[in-house]
C-alpha cells in the first residue's frame, strides 16, 4: 500500500512539473509584460507554441549530424529526470534514494554538454558564439552550485534532497547565516543557469548578444519544441529546488496522508507564483550586463557559497 502511494506521489510530481513548466514561462512573460505596461500574450501561450512547433516540419542543415538530431531528446530526458528528483509538494520521493543533489547537478551538466555540442554541430557562427559563452558561464556556475550543496550537505548531513528537505522542515534548523548565503548564491546560479536577465536575455532578437538562444538558433519544429520544454522545465526545477530547500513550509513529509499532500500542492503553487513575480520584477528593473561582467557576478555566487561553508566550520568550532 505504502509503495503504491509513494509511486503515485512520485508519478504525480514527475508529470506535474512537465505540465506546469510552460505555465511558469507563460506566467513570467505575462507578469513582465504587465510591468512594462503591455498586454502581453496569454499565460497559456507557451502551450500553444509547443503544439504549433510539434506540428511543424523540421528544417535540418545539410551537414547536421546525428548528434544534432538526438541532442534535444537527450537534453529533455536528462532535465526531466533531474526535475523528477526535486520534491515539489511532498518530500517522500520514491526515486530520491537513487540519486542525490550532486547527481542533479551532473544531469544538468550533461544537458549543457549536449546543448553546446549541438550548438557547434552545424558550424554556424552564432551557435559557436553561444556555446563558448555558455561554457564560460557554466565553468563558474557549477563550482558555485557545488559549494552550495556542500554547505547544505554539511548542515543536513546528507546530499539526499529528500533528507535535506526533511531536515529543513524540522525545528532543529533555526536561523543560520550559512543558509542565507547559500540562498543568495543559489538564486544567482539559477539566474545564470536559466539564461535570465542580467546574464542572458531570453526575449532578445539580437543574434550577437544571445547565449542560450544562439545555441538553439538552428533548431526548428519538434526539436525546438522539446528544447523549449526542457528550458521551461529547468526553470521550474530551479524554482522547485529553491522552494524545497529554503521555503519548505507546507511540504508534505514522508508517509503523510492525502490531506497533507493537498496542502503541499497548494503551497507549491503559491511558491511558484511568488517566485515568478520576484523574477519578473527583478528582470524588469535591471539591464543585461556585459558578457565579461558575468564572471564577476558568478564569482560572487561562488564566494558566497564558499563563505557559507566556511562559516559552518567556524560556528561549529571545528
Amino acid at each position: 500500500m505504502a509503495l503504491i502511494r509513494d509511486l503515485a506521489v512520485q508519478g504525480t510530481q514527475m508529470f506535474l512539473v512537465v505540465l506546469l513548466a510552460p505555465f511558469v514561462t507563460g506566467l513570467i512573460r505575462k507578469m513582465k509584460a504587465r510591468l512594462q505596461r503591455r498586454q502581453g500574450p496569454p499565460v497559456l501561450q507557451p502551450y500553444r507554441d509547443l503544439l504549433r512547433l510539434m506540428r511543424k516540419d523540421v528544417v535540418l542543415a545539410d551537414n547536421a549530424s546525428w548528434l544534432f538530431r538526438a541532442a534535444p531528446y537527450l537534453i529533455f530526458a536528462a532535465t526531466w529526470v533531474a526535475a523528477a528528483l526535486v520534491p515539489t509538494f511532498g518530500a517522500g520521493l520514491l526515486f530520491s534514494w537513487s540519486a542525490d543533489l550532486i547527481a542533479i547537478v551532473a544531469l544538468l551538466g550533461s544537458t549543457r554538454f549536449f546543448l553546446t555540442l549541438a550548438g557547434m554541430d552545424v558550424g554556424a557562427s552564432f551557435g559557436g558564439i553561444g556555446s563558448s559563452r555558455e561554457v564560460m558561464i557554466a565553468s563558474l556556475a557549477e563550482p558555485a552550485m557545488i559549494m552550495i550543496i556542500f554547505s547544505l550537505a554539511l548542515l543536513a548531513r546528507s546530499t539526499q534532497l529528500s533528507t535535506i528537505a526533511e531536515y529543513m522542515l524540522s525545528p532543529q534548523v533555526g536561523l543560520r547565516v550559512t543558509l542565507g548565503l547559500a540562498f543568495v548564491s543559489l538564486v544567482m546560479v539559477g539566474i545564470a543557469e536559466n539564461s535570465r536577465i542580467p546574464v542572458d536575455n531570453p526575449a532578445t532578437h539580437l543574434e550577437l548578444t544571445m547565449v542560450h538562444e544562439a545555441m538553439v538558433l538552428e533548431y526548428s519544429g519538434r526539436h525546438l519544441a522539446v528544447i523549449e520544454l526542457a528550458g521551461s522545465l529547468k526553470l521550474l526545477l530551479y524554482i522547485s529546488l529553491i522552494a524545497c530547500l529554503f521555503t519548505p513550509w507546507g511540504l508534505a513529509p514522508v508517509g503523510a496522508g492525502w490531506q497533507a499532500h493537498a496542502i503541499g500542492a497548494t503551497a507549491y503553487l503559491a511558491k511558484i507564483i511568488m517566485a515568478c513575480a520576484a523574477l519578473a520584477i527583478f528582470e524588469t528593473t535591471i539591464a543585461k550586463m556585459r558578457v565579461f561582467r558575468v564572471p564577476t557576478f558568478l564569482g560572487a555566487a561562488l564566494m558566497l557559497g564558499l563563505l557559507g561553508t566556511l562559516l559552518l566550520f567556524v560556528s561549529r568550532g571545528l
Binding site: Q36, I129, E207, T284, A287, R290
Partner: protein
C-alpha cells in the same frame, strides 16, 4: 600660412548655372585635388559627392566661414582624380559613382562595387550601360592573425530591421575589424527621379528613408523652391518646422527606448514607445498622417492647422513635458544600464570631424554642427534653441544628446505654437528651369539635396545625400576593441539609415 578659403580656391573656377542659394563652380582636375587637400587638412568638410553622366559634383562646406558651395568636374573621359585616396570619407561615394555612372576615380584605393551586387542585369545604369559581368564573390578586406575568426551577420537579421551585412573579425569576443556591406535596399532613386514632375518627385523624396520622411520632403522642397526662385509663405515655414520637430521627437524617443532595450532594459522601451505613440497620434490628428508623409511639397505645405488641432498638439506637449523627465531620471538612475552605455563604442572626435559626421553622432563627439543653427533657415532664425554638444563620444553621450535634443524640440514646438504666423500655407509654382541645393537638419543629421530642373520644371537630375553616408564608416571605427556582444547596442546608438544610403 593661412589656408585658402573655400571661395578663394573655387572662385578660380567658372561659376556655372544659377544654382541657389549657394553657387556652383566648374573646376579642373588641379583645383579638384586642391579641394581634396583642403578636406585632408580639415579646412573644408565634404558634404556630398555624386555623379552625373558626364561630370562629378561635390558639395563642400567651409567650417570656418560657414560657406557652402558645389564644385563640378567635367569628366567626359570617364575618369576623375580620386578624393578617397586623400580623404577616406569619399571612398564610399566614389564606389557608388563608379557603380552607377561608370566613372573611374583615378588612384582610388578601393574600387570594389558598393551598390551594385550584380543583380541589375546591367552595369553603370546611369552612365554608359554595359552588360552585367559574371559576378565574382565580393572580396572582404583580409584579416590575418592567430586565433582570429570571422562572424557573418545579415543581411537577413533575426529582428525586424533593415538589411545590411556585417562582417566581423574577432578574437574570441573582442572585435578586431568590422566591415559593412550595404546596397541591399537599393531602389534606384536617382534614376526614378529623372523626368518626374515636382509633386511626384517630392513624394519619392519622402520615401528615401521612411523614418525621415518629413526631413527629406522638406529638404527636397527647399531645393525645389531655390531652383524655382520662389519662397514658401511664412506660415508654411513654421508648419514645416513644427513637423520636423515632431518627427525628431518621435525618432529620438524611439531611439532612446530601443538603445535601452538592446541593453536588456525593456522597461525604458515600453515607456518611450507610449510617448512616441502619443506623438504619432497627435501628428495624425494635426497633419493627417502618423508620420506626416507627403505633407510638405514645393511651395508650402498641404495641410493647415486649425485651433482644434493646435489644442491637441498643446495637449501632447503637456503630456511629454510631464512624462519625459521621469524617463530621463529612470535612465540616469539605473546603474546596470549606465554600466552598459558608458564607455561603449567610443567615437574619436577627430574622426567625427574628419567625416563631418552630422546629428547626434557628431555632436556626441564634439562636432558642433547643426544645419538649423549654421544656416538658420526659416523659421529657425526666429526661434531660440541650444545645440547640445558633448566630447565623450560613447553610447551614453549619444543617448544624452538625444535627451537634450528632445528637450530642445519640446521648447521649439512650444515657441512655434505660440508664434505661428497667419496667412497662406502654399504658393503656386511657376514652371521654369533652375538649379537648387538645400541642407536641412533631419533627426539623424544634415540631409543634402541637389536638384536640377528642366524647362518644364521636371527633374533633370536629383541627388539626395543621407547623413548616414558619413556615419556608417564611423561605426566601423567606433566598434574596434569592443566586444561582439556590445555591437547591437553601439549600432543602435548610431542608428544610421540603410535605405537612405543605399538610395
Amino acid at each position: 600660412m593661412k589656408m585658402a578659403s573655400l571661395i578663394e580656391i573655387i572662385a578660380n573656377g567658372a561659376k556655372v548655372g544659377d544654382q541657389r542659394p549657394w553657387p556652383r563652380f566648374a573646376v579642373d582636375a588641379v583645383q579638384w585635388q586642391e579641394i581634396a587637400e583642403g578636406f585632408r587638412d580639415g579646412a573644408f568638410v565634404l558634404s556630398g559627392l555624386w555623379g552625373e553622366a558626364d561630370a562629378v559634383h561635390m558639395a563642400l562646406l567651409d567650417g570656418a566661414s560657414g560657406e557652402m558651395a558645389v564644385a563640378t568636374l567635367p569628366c567626359p573621359s570617364g575618369h576623375f582624380p580620386s578624393i578617397g585616396s586623400i580623404h577616406p570619407p569619399a571612398i564610399r561615394p566614389e564606389r557608388a559613382i563608379h557603380d552607377l555612372f561608370g566613372h573611374v576615380p583615378d588612384g582610388a584605393l578601393d574600387l570594389r562595387p558598393w551598390l551594385d551586387h550584380g543583380c541589375w542585369g546591367v552595369r553603370h545604369p546611369l552612365g554608359v550601360r554595359l552588360p552585367a559581368e559574371g559576378g565574382s564573390p565580393y572580396a572582404f578586406l583580409p584579416t590575418e592573425g592567430e586565433g582570429l575568426h570571422r562572424i557573418a551577420v545579415g543581411p537577413v537579421h533575426a529582428g525586424i530591421i533593415e538589411p545590411g551585412h556585417f562582417r566581423f573579425t574577432a578574437n574570441g569576443e573582442a572585435i578586431v575589424r568590422l566591415e559593412e556591406r550595404f546596397g541591399y535596399a537599393h531602389k534606384g532613386v536617382e534614376s526614378l527621379m529623372h523626368g518626374l514632375p515636382l509633386d511626384r518627385a517630392a513624394k519619392l523624396a519622402g520615401r528615401v528613408s521612411g523614418d525621415s520622411t518629413v526631413a527629406y520632403a522638406l529638404t527636397f522642397s527647399r531645393a525645389a523652391e531655390a531652383a524655382l526662385g520662389i519662397d514658401a509663405p511664412p506660415r508654411a515655414h513654421w508648419l514645416r518646422a513644427l513637423m520636423a520637430e515632431l518627427e525628431r521627437l518621435a525618432n529620438h524617443l524611439g531611439d532612446i527606448g530601443a538603445i535601452c532595450n538592446d541593453g536588456g532594459f525593456a522597461l525604458m522601451l515600453a515607456h518611450c514607445a507610449i510617448l512616441r505613440e502619443r506623438i504619432l497620434r497627435a501628428s495624425d490628428a494635426g497633419f493627417g498622417h502618423r508620420l506626416m508623409r507627403d505633407a510638405i511639397v514645393a511651395g508650402g505645405v498641404t495641410t493647415d492647422l486649425d485651433p482644434q488641432r493646435i489644442f491637441k498638439l498643446r495637449q501632447l506637449l503637456t503630456e511629454l513635458n510631464r512624462g519625459f523627465p521621469q524617463l530621463v531620471e529612470l535612465y540616469d538612475n539605473t546603474a546596470s544600464l549606465q554600466d552598459r552605455t558608458v564607455g561603449s563604442g567610443r567615437l574619436d572626435p577627430a574622426l567625427a570631424r574628419q567625416f563631418g559626421a552630422g546629428g547626434f553622432i557628431g555632436r556626441a563627439s564634439g562636432r558642433d554642427f547643426d544645419a538649423r543653427r549654421k544656416f538658420a533657415y526659416p523659421p529657425y532664425d526666429q526661434l531660440a534653441f541650444d545645440v547640445p554638444v558633448r566630447d565623450d563620444g560613447d553610447v551614453n553621450a549619444r543617448v544624452w544628446i538625444r535627451i537634450k535634443e528632445v528637450e530642445q524640440s519640446l521648447a521649439l514646438i512650444e515657441q512655434i505654437l505660440n508664434d505661428l504666423p497667419g496667412g497662406a500655407v502654399r504658393v503656386d509654382l511657376v514652371p521654369r528651369a533652375g538649379e537648387g541645393v538645400a541642407l536641412v537638419e533631419g533627426f539623424r543629421g544634415d540631409i543634402l539635396v541637389w536638384l536640377q530642373l528642366g524647362d518644364d520644371a521636371r527633374v533633370r537630375r536629383c541627388h539626395l545625400r543621407d547623413p548616414s553616408w558619413f556615419q556608417w564608416p564611423l561605426l566601423e571605427a567606433a566598434i574596434e576593441g569592443n566586444i561582439v556582444a556590445d555591437f547591437p547596442l553601439c549600432n543602435k546608438s548610431f542608428n544610421c539609415s540603410y535605405s537612405g544610403s543605399d538610395l
